[in-house]
C-alpha cells in the first residue's frame, strides 16, 4: 500500500498497445524456452516478432531519478521498484498483461482450505547470479533480515504472516513466533493469521524478494555495488554511475534465461521532466515514464504517446475531529460543490477520470462505485442545513498541499468552486513534502490533499486505511459499521462475497460520510517507441523486463551499440 503523492503522482505507467500480441496462440514461437513443469507455460509470454534477431537488443529508458537503494528490502519508491523487477525475483512474479501472480522463484504453491497456510515449492534449478542455489532458507533469512532491518520501512507487507506484526511492534527477538518455516531445502511454509486474498501478490512485491546472505555479510552497505551484488532476477547489474545511468545485462544463471532477449538495458536517471521529454524526442531514450505538465498538450500530438488508467486515486482528506468538518453534511456539501469533470478536463488534461468513489477502477471483478456527483444546488442546501446558509458564518479553513505546480492548480480550482458554489472562502496552505507529511500525521489541517496508489490489485488497498485507528486514516474518522464490514471481508474466503462486502464498505464511505473527497483516478502517461515489444498496458506500472525486446533498431539502441557496449 503505497501512498504516494510526490512527483510521481500523475506519472504512472501503463502499456503500449501490443498490436502484434498473440497472433497464433497454440503454436510455440521459435526460440522460446521450454514449457515450465509447473504447468504455467512461460512460452506464452515469449511474444513472436520479426526483426529482433537482426537488431541490437539494447533498451534505453529513463527511470526518472537516482534510486535511493538497490536493496529490495529497503526500497520504497517507484524508481527502485522498476529496478527490483529486473534484478530480483520473489516467490511469485507478475503476468505482464493481467498482473496475476504467476510462478517466480517458486514453481508452484499449495494453499490450505482455510486460506491461511501457503506451501511454496522452490525451483530446483533456481540459482543466484554467482551460481549458488536459491533455497527456502534464503527466503526465510531475507525475510527475517527485512523485519530486523531498521531501514526497511515496508515491514507492513509482512503483516498478513502470523506473528510478523508482533515481531516488529513488540520488538520480539524470537523468530520462531513468526509463521515462516523451512520444511525442506526447497519448501517454504508460510502461515497467515487470517486469510489474505492478495498474499500471492505480496510475494511478488520487492520487500519480500530474497537477498544473498553471504554477500550482505561480507560487504555490508556496499553489497549493492556492481562489483559485489549477487541477484536472482532476470538481469544482473553491470554499471552503476549514480545520477547518470544504470546498465544491466541478462543474468546468465537465471533459471529462465532463454526468454530474455534484451542484451542490455541502459537506464538513465533524468529527473527534469522537460529534459526527459526532450531526450525522448531527440531519440536519446526509448521509453519515458512520465510527461511534464507543460508538455502534455505537445505529447498528445505524438503517436508514441500513451495514456492508461492507473491504480490510484487523488482525493482530499477532511479533518473530521474538528468543526466544521466533523459534520458529514459539510463534507458532503464540499464534495458536491466540486465539478470534477472541469478539473480533469481543464486542469489535468491527460484523460484523468473524475472520481466519485475511492477504489480505482480496473480491479478485475470489482464494480466501480458511482457516488453523488456535482450538484451545486444540493451542496448549498446541505451547507445551509449544517447551519451555514450561503456560507455565512463559516469558520476559516484552509487546504494543505505539498508544494507542486499541479497540486496548486487543482487546489486553486477547488477554492474557486467552493467560493462560487458555496460562498465559502478557503485559503491555500502549501508546505514542502517532508513538512506536509508531519502536518498530516499530526492532523494539523482542515482539508488535505492526498493521493493513494494501490500496491496490489485489490480493493482492500483503498479501503483498509479508513478503519478506526489505522495509521493511514489521518482524518480522525471512525465508524463501527465500517470496521465491522472490513473485518468480515477479511474472514470471507469466497472472492465474490468478499468483493460484495468491500463494495458495501465503499458505498458507506462515499454516500453520506465522506471523510475524504475523491477527485479523480490517476492515469499514467509516457512515451514509448513502437519498436519496443512485449510491453503491455496494465494498471500497476509493471512491465517485467524479461519479456521485452526491440522489433527493430531505434536511434538510442544504435547509439548505445555504437559506443562500444
Amino acid at each position: 500500500m503505497r501512498f504516494r503523492a510526490f512527483a510521481y503522482a500523475l506519472t504512472l505507467l501503463s502499456a503500449f498497445a501490443a498490436t502484434a500480441a498473440a497472433e497464433d496462440e497454440g503454436k510455440k514461437p521459435e526460440g522460446a524456452p521450454p514449457a515450465d513443469p509447473a504447468g504455467f507455460d512461460f512460452s506464452t509470454l515469449f511474444e513472436p516478432g520479426d526483426g529482433w534477431r537482426s537488431t541490437r537488443q539494447i533498451f534505453v529508458w529513463n527511470n526518472e531519478t537516482e534510486p535511493e537503494t538497490l536493496d529490495p528490502a529497503v526500497m520504497t519508491g517507484v524508481t527502485e521498484h522498476q529496478l527490483a523487477l529486473a534484478l530480483f525475483e520473489g516467490l511469485a512474479s507478475h503476468h505482464p498483461e493481467t498482473l496475476e501472480p504467476i510462478p517466480g522463484a517458486a514453481w508452484k504453491w499449495d494453499v490450505s482450505a482455510d486460506g491461511t497456510v501457503y506451501t511454496f515449492h522452490l525451483r530446483k534449478d533456481a540459482r543466484w547470479s554467482n551460481g549458488d542455489p536459491l533455497t527456502a532458507e534464503d527466503f526465510r533469512w531475507s525475510w527475517e533480515r527485512a523485519l530486523r532491518e531498521p531501514n526497511c520501512q515496508y515491514k507492513e507487507m509482512f503483516f498478513p504472516i502470523r506473528g510478523a506484526e508482533a515481531f516488529v511492534e513488540a520488538n520480539e527477538k524470537d523468530w520462531s513466533t513468526v509463521g515462516v518455516a523451512v520444511t525442506s531445502p526447497h519448501t517454504l511454509t508460510v502461515t497467515l493469521h487470517t486469510p489474505c486474498a492478495y498474499f500471492l501478490e505480496l510475494c511478488a512485491f520487492e520487500t519480500l524478494m530474497p537477498v544473498h546472505r553471504r554477500t550482505l555479510e561480507q560487504f555490508g552497505q556496499l553489497w549493492t555495488r556492481p562489483e559485489n551484488i549477487v541477484v536472482n532476477g532476470p538481469f544482473a547489474l553491470d554499471v552503476w554511475k549514480p545520477r547518470d545511468r544504470i546498465e544491466m545485462v541478462p543474468n546468465a544463471k537465471w533459471w529462465n534465461r532463454g526468454i530474455v532477449r534484451l542484451e542490455r538495458m541502459v537506464i538513465r536517471a533524468i529527473d527534469d521532466q522537460s529534459t526527459s521529454y526532450n531526450e525522448y524526442l531527440s531519440g536519446g531514450v526509448d521509453w519515458i515514464r512520465s510527461i511534464a505538465a507543460g508538455k502534455v498538450t505537445d505529447a498528445q500530438q505524438q503517436a508514441d504517446y500513451y495514456v492508461q488508467p492507473y491504480l490510484g486515486t487523488y482525493f482530499f482528506r477532511f479533518n473530521t475531529t474538528e468543526p466544521p468538518f466533523d459534520d458529514p453534511k459539510v463534507r458532503k456539501a464540499f464534495n458536491q460543490a466540486i465539478d470534477k469533470r472541469v478539473i480533469c478536463e481543464t486542469v489535468l488534461k491527460a484523460g484523468q477520470v473524475p472520481a466519485t468513489g475511492i477504489v480505482s477502477p480496473g480491479i478485475h471483478g470489482f464494480p466501480e462505485f458511482k457516488g453523488p456527483g456535482y450538484d451545486p444546488v444540493k451542496a448549498r442546501a446541505l451547507l445551509a442545513e449544517a447551519g451555514f446558509p450561503e456560507g455565512k458564518g463559516f469558520p476559516k479553513v484552509d487546504v494543505l498541499y505539498n508544494t507542486s505546480e499541479s497540486h496548486k492548480q487543482v487546489c486553486e480550482k477547488l477554492v474557486e468552486m467552493w467560493k462560487t458554489n458555496l460562498g465559502v472562502t478557503v485559503t491555500l496552505r502549501n508546505c514542502e513534502w517532508k513538512v506536509y507529511l508531519e502536518e498530516t500525521r499530526k492532523l494539523s489541517y482542515s482539508i488535505q490533499r492526498a493521493g493513494w496508489i494501490g500496491d496490489y490489485a485489490d480493493p482492500a488497498t483503498f479501503l483498509d486505511m479508513w478503519c478506526t485507528g489505522r495509521g493511514n486514516n489521518n482524518t480522525g474518522w471512525s465508524s463501527a459499521a465500517y470496521d465491522d464490514l472490513l473485518a468480515r471481508s477479511t474472514k470471507e474466503t469466497d472472492p465474490a462475497k468478499r468483493y460484495a462486502l468491500l463494495a458495501e464498505a465503499e458505498k458507506l464511505l462515499c454516500t453520506d460520510e465522506f471523510p475524504f473527497m475523491p477527485i479523480y483516478f490517476y492515469v499514467n502517461q509516457g512515451m514509448l517507441r513502437p519498436e519496443v515489444r512485449g510491453w503491455h498496458e496494465n494498471i500497476r506500472d509493471l512491465h517485467p523486463f524479461q519479456y521485452l525486446f526491440l522489433a527493430g533498431p531505434t536511434k538510442a539502441s544504435a547509439a548505445a551499440a555504437g559506443s562500444g557496449k
Binding site: 507543460g294 498528445q300 503517436a303 484523468q352 492515469v523
Partner: protein
C-alpha cells in the same frame, strides 16, 4: 576668488541628477523601472484581468486572441441579484449604473467527448476516450456525429473501431499519427437563445426562446456561441495571450512584478541596511573591533551562500519574509566591505575630527557624517543588487522553492518564466508564455543595470565606465 555664486546652489544629489540626466540609457532605464514599479503598485487597476481567476477553457490562447467576455459559468436567477463570482464584471457593473440592460447568449448545449485516435496511415489502430480508457468501439447514436477537433471537419462514420479505415475527406497522413476527434452529442433543445434583462440591482427577467425561465439558470461558458450586451457583441482580448491554465499572461506579469520587485527591493534594503551599518561600525570603530568584524565577514564570505539560502527556505515556511531575510543575508557582505573601506578613508578626513572636537557623539558622527558620505556607493549598490536578487529569486523558483504571497496563487516572474519554459513546444509553440514574462524580467534587469551604471557615473565621475 569671487564670492558671487549665483545662481542658487545645487546639493551633491542635484548635481548627480544633472549628470544622470545626460545619460540617455540610464534615464531610459529609470523610466522603465518606474513604469514597472507603478504597474506593480497599482496592479489591481492596471491589470486587465484578475490573475486569480483562470478561464479554464481559454487555455493557451495566442497574443491578441479575442474571446467572449465570460468566466467559466454564467449563473443568474430572475428576481435576484447575481453573486459577483457568478457573472462577468460587465453584468455586475450594469446592475448598478442606473439603467436597464439586456444581454443575449446564444447557447448550443452539446455534449462533446474527446477521442484520441491513433492511426496508421488511414487505418484506425487505437481509440482512447472517456478518460484514459481504450475503447473497443465507439457507436454513435442517431443524433451524434464525429468531427475532427479544431478543424471541425465532419467524419462521415456511424461507428469507430480499430482496424477500420477512415472515410475520405479526413486528411490522411502516412505512418503512425494521431487524430483528435470529437464525438458530438446534441441535446434535443440544443440551440437556444437566453435573454437576461437586468438593471437597478437585480436580474429582472430570464427568458429562454421567448418563454420566461424560473429558478436558477446556469450556462457553461464553453457552450456559448455568441454574446450580445445591449445589442453589441461583447468580447475581451488577451493582449499577451493566456497560459496553460487560462490565466491572462499580461495580468500575471503585472501581478508577478509585485513579487519580483518587492522581493528585489526589500531584500536589497535588508542587505544594504545590514551591510552599511556593519561596515560603518566596523570601519569607524577601527582597531580590534574592526579586525574582528572583518574577520567575521571573511568567514561568511567563504560560505556557499546559495546553499544556505536553500537550507533556510526548506527549513522555514516558505514565505516572503524568509525569502527577504535569506536573500538579504546573501547580499550584505559586499556592501559591508565596500562601506567599511569608504568609512576608513572618510573617517581620516578632517571634518570628522572637527565633529569630534565639537563634542559630537560617536553615534551621531556615524549617522550624520560618515554614513551619508557613503550614500553614493549605496545607491549604486541598490540598483545593482536589485537585479541580482530578482535573478536569485527566479533561480529559487526554478529549483522548486517558489514563494507564496500570502496564500494567493500569484507567481513571481521567475516562476512564470519557469512555467513558460516548461510549456514551450518543440517548434516553439506557446512561445508567449516564456517570451513575455522573460522579456518583462530581462527588461527590468537590463534597465536596472543601466540605471546602476548611470548612477555610478553620476555619483562618482572618477569611476566612470567601470564594470
Amino acid at each position: 576668488m569671487s564670492a558671487d555664486l549665483d545662481p542658487p546652489s545645487d546639493g551633491p544629489w542635484a548635481q548627480a541628477w544633472k549628470r544622470l540626466r545626460r545619460n540617455a540609457m540610464a534615464i531610459a532605464g529609470l523610466v522603465v523601472v518606474s513604469v514597472m514599479a507603478l504597474a506593480a503598485t497599482f496592479a489591481g487597476t492596471v491589470a486587465p484581468f484578475d490573475p486569480r481567476i483562470s478561464e479554464s477553457w481559454e487555455t493557451s490562447l495566442p497574443p491578441g486572441a479575442r474571446h467572449l467576455d465570460l468566466v467559466n459559468e454564467f449563473v443568474v436567477t430572475a428576481g435576484q441579484a447575481p453573486r459577483e463570482r457568478d457573472v462577468p464584471p460587465w453584468l455586475h457593473d450594469g446592475l448598478g449604473d442606473g439603467h436597464d440592460h439586456a444581454c443575449e447568449l446564444d447557447v448550443v448545449a452539446e455534449e462533446v467527448k474527446q477521442l484520441r485516435v491513433t492511426m496508421d496511415g488511414a487505418k484506425v489502430t487505437k481509440i482512447q476516450g472517456d478518460g484514459a480508457r481504450t475503447l473497443a468501439k465507439v457507436e454513435l447514436g442517431p443524433e451524434d456525429h464525429l468531427r475532427v477537433k479544431d478543424a471541425g471537419t465532419r467524419i462521415e462514420a456511424k461507428a469507430l473501431e480499430p482496424g477500420m479505415a477512415l472515410p475520405e475527406g479526413v486528411p490522411a497522413k502516412t505512418g503512425r499519427w494521431v487524430l483528435f476527434a470529437e464525438w458530438v452529442r446534441i441535446a434535443p433543445d440544443a440551440k437556444r437563445t437566453v435573454r437576461v434583462a437586468y438593471g437597478y440591482g437585480t436580474v429582472s427577467a430570464v427568458t429562454v426562446a421567448g418563454a420566461a425561465h424560473a429558478g436558477e439558470m446556469r450556462i457553461r461558458a464553453e457552450h456559448v456561441r455568441d454574446l450580445r450586451v445591449d445589442g453589441a457583441r461583447k468580447e475581451h482580448v488577451h493582449v499577451l495571450g493566456t497560459d496553460l491554465n487560462g490565466y491572462d499572461v499580461l495580468s500575471r506579469i503585472i501581478f508577478g512584478a509585485r513579487i519580483s520587485l518587492l522581493v528585489g527591493l526589500v531584500a536589497t534594503l535588508v542587505s544594504l541596511s545590514i551591510g552599511v551599518l556593519y561596515g560603518a561600525v566596523s570601519g569607524y570603530a577601527g582597531g580590534r573591533t574592526d579586525v574582528l568584524m572583518m574577520r567575521a565577514v571573511d568567514v561568511l564570505y567563504a560560505m556557499p551562500y546559495i546553499f544556505l539560502v536553500i537550507v533556510l527556505l526548506t527549513v522555514f515556511d516558505r514565505n516572503l519574509i524568509v525569502l527577504f531575510v535569506a536573500l538579504g543575508l546573501v547580499q550584505w557582505l559586499t556592501p559591508a566591505r565596500v562601506v567599511r573601506g569608504q568609512i576608513l578613508s572618510i573617517k581620516r578626513r578632517e571634518f570628522v575630527d572637527a565633529a569630534v572636537t565639537l563634542g559630537t557623539t560617536p553615534w551621531r558622527i556615524l549617522v550624520r557624517h560618515l554614513i551619508p558620505n557613503t550614500m553614493g556607493v549605496v545607491v549604486v549598490f541598490t540598483t545593482l543588487t536589485i537585479p541580482a536578487v530578482i535573478l536569485e529569486e527566479s533561480f529559487l523558483s526554478f529549483i522548486g522553492l517558489t514563494v507564496k504571497f500570502g496564500g494567493e496563487p500569484i507567481d513571481s516572474w521567475g516562476a512564470l518564466v519557469d512555467s513558460g519554459r516548461n510549456a514551450l513546444g518543440v517548434n516553439g509553440e506557446r512561445w508567449w508564455m516564456l517570451v513575455f514574462p522573460g522579456a518583462a524580467m530581462s527588461l527590468t534587469l537590463f534597465s536596472m543595470n543601466f540605471l546602476g551604471d548611470g548612477l555610478r557615473d553620476a555619483l562618482d565621475p572618477r569611476q566612470k565606465g567601470r564594470g
